[in-house]
């Protein structure tokens, strides 16, 4: 029963959502709409699960004094502070009046805007340095295909910035880098990604059917 009931739930919900797609009758759409709201709530619970798991991992690390456990204390402490600021009984995400000035907002907002925003955006901006280093070390003209890839990359890199426009501005329109770049994007690039898109769509459709029909069960885990 521990596997049959979930399989039945997946089948019933899946089939009903498919019916909702093909039968736009009020009785169907109203119920399907409510089911979507249920789905949103359950998804929210799955996010709670993920965050709970994060707390568990860091707590274990601290309890076992694993390497870097001090940093786990920082993570959990700042998490507790942020949670308190965001969830204490009077907490809100800022009244409408806060549109006007950031500082009228809550400390919760302050921590987000002045700590999370710089941390997250800087962390991802590190990639600019690494991609430059990778371009120097790894991008090699080893074959005809690689050369094509490299030429397309160079044209796009120069053609998508004002410099490319400046360098080729005196040439005929169809020889200017911005035009060539846009043509690459709109034709060969478009064609390749359309092919990939259609292939992936077939895969998703097949997987969807397998899940709904109970053929694909890996999401239920291995145990009985």
């Amino acid at each position: 029963m521990r596997r049959e009931i979930p399989l039945a739930i997946t089948f019933l919900i899946g089939v009903f959502m498919l019916v909702d797609f093909f039968v736009p009758h009020t009785a169907v759409t109203t119920s399907a709409d409510e089911l979507k709201q249920w789905g949103i709530i359950v998804i929210a619970a799955s996010i709670l699960l993920g965050i709970g798991n994060l707390v568990r991992v860091h707590s274990k690390k601290i309890a076992r004094r694993n390497e870097g456990w001090g940093y786990s204390i920082i993570t959990l402490t700042v998490m507790a502070v942020m949670l308190w600021l965001g969830l204490w009984p009077g907490a809100h995400l800022g009244p409408n009046e806060m549109i006007g000035t950031v500082e009228q907002g809550t400390p919760f907002n302050w921590m987000f805007l002045f700590m999370q925003v710089p941390l997250q955006s800087t962390m991802f901006s590190l990639l600019a340095f690494f991609i430059a280093s990778a371009a120097y070390r790894a991008f090699r003209l080893r074959s005809a295909e690689a050369s094509l890839l490299l030429i397309a990359a160079i044209i796009v890199m120069l053609g998508r910035v004002p410099l490319g426009q400046l360098l080729t501005r005196n040439l005929p329109e169809h020889a200017q880098l911005p035009w060539i770049t846009e043509t690459i994007m709109a034709y060969p690039n478009m064609a390749a990604f359309r092919g990939i898109l259609m292939g992936a769509a077939l895969g998703v459709m097949a997987m969807g059917l397998r899940i709904i029909l109970g053929i694909e069960r890996s999401y239920l885990g291995g145990e009985k």
Binding site: F21, T29, D33, K36, Q37, G39, I40, I43, A44, H92, L93, G94, P95, N96, M98, I99, G100, T101, V102, F112, L113, Q116, V117, Q120, S121, F124, S125, A128, F129, I131, A132, S133, A135, Y136, R137, F139, R140, L141, L150, A153, I154, M157, L158, R160, V161, P162, L163, G164, Q165, L166, R169, P178, E182, M185, A186, N189, M190, F193, R194, L197
Partner: protein, 282 residues
């Protein structure tokens, strides 16, 4: 690696310093390179520009701080255009980090254009669920977002009296950093509810969406910081994206140089290794 000059012997921190300098100098001493407008940006701008005053449009803000440098200028440029045209804007977010970022974009614009919350624009905040949430909005926006970002029931917001579902929205501008984002909006809203969708995406995502532009599923596309700069140019308010274009140009040129130099060094060292090999055999 071939003998002779060892390409890996160069400390990558030298490359890091060069990149750092190539970004900083054009920001400090701007060159003001010209910004041309590409067709997907122009068509999106034209579609928004053709809407009569008072029309309700939607802004889907689906990004987080990591893509903010690219996407925040798009949000600002689109909102500026909408407010300038007296369009009314409903904002929804499928990414948790978006609502305060959108709010930060709104703050100066609301003051500049004298817009009133709940009448001229509304921020419905974050809703989890991705494609299911978009699908839900197709039938009922108020059912899917029962309260706004600040917790006000949507029944108390005048603008929401006129917005029942996606068919009440003339155009959706989706500013997207990934999943859920542009793809989900095309799949759920365009195909099923005939929504007119424009999109601003990160540069990483943009090439994937050209099939949607070509098929007409997207009415226009802003790709990365350059797309944002183009929209800023069209709106007539050059801002952060435009200011970044000089630095963008110089760093691209530098990276192209790295690639070419790396290859020259590679082939030279390969050839000298082959020559040395030949000698040792003979």
């Amino acid at each position: 690696m071939a003998r002779g000059f060892n390409i890996r012997s160069i400390d990558r921190r030298i490359i890091f310093v060069l990149i750092f300098v190539a970004v900083a100098i054009p920001l400090i001493k701007p060159m003001g390179l010209p910004i041309g407008v590409s067709p997907p940006v122009q068509s999106l701008y034209d579609a928004v520009d053709a809407l009569p005053p008072g029309t309700i449009v939607m802004l889907g803000g689906d990004y987080s701080p990591d893509s903010m440098p690219e996407l925040q200028p798009m949000t600002i440029a689109f909102l500026r255009h909408a407010f300038k045209k007296d369009l009314r804007v409903v904002i929804t977010c499928l990414w948790p980090a978006s609502p305060p970022l959108i709010e930060a974009a709104l703050t100066p614009l609301v003051e500049e254009f004298g817009k009133e919350y709940g009448v001229d624009y509304v921020n419905l905040g974050y809703m989890t669920g991705g494609p299911v949430t978009i699908l839900g909005m197709g039938n009922s926006i108020t059912g899917t977002f029962p309260r706004d970002y600040y917790g006000t029931p949507v029944g108390e917001i005048p603008l929401m009296d006129e917005v029942s579902n996606l068919s009440d929205v003339a155009l959706v501008m989706e500013v997207s950093a990934g999943t859920p984002g542009t793809r989900e909006w095309v799949q759920q809203a365009v195909s099923r509810f005939d929504v007119r969708l424009g999109s601003g995406t990160t540069a990483v995502g943009a090439p994937n969406f050209y099939p949607y532009v070509s098929s007409g599923q997207l009415i226009g596309l802003l790709g990365g910081l350059k797309g944002a700069a183009e929209y800023e140019t069209l709106v007539g308010a050059p801002a952060d994206a435009t200011k970044g274009m000089d630095a963008q140009s110089i760093v691209h040129a530098l990276i192209v140089f790295f690639i070419l130099f790396g290859n020259v060094v590679y082939f030279v060292s390969k050839r000298s290794a082959a020559v040395a090999d030949g000698r040792s055999r003979s």
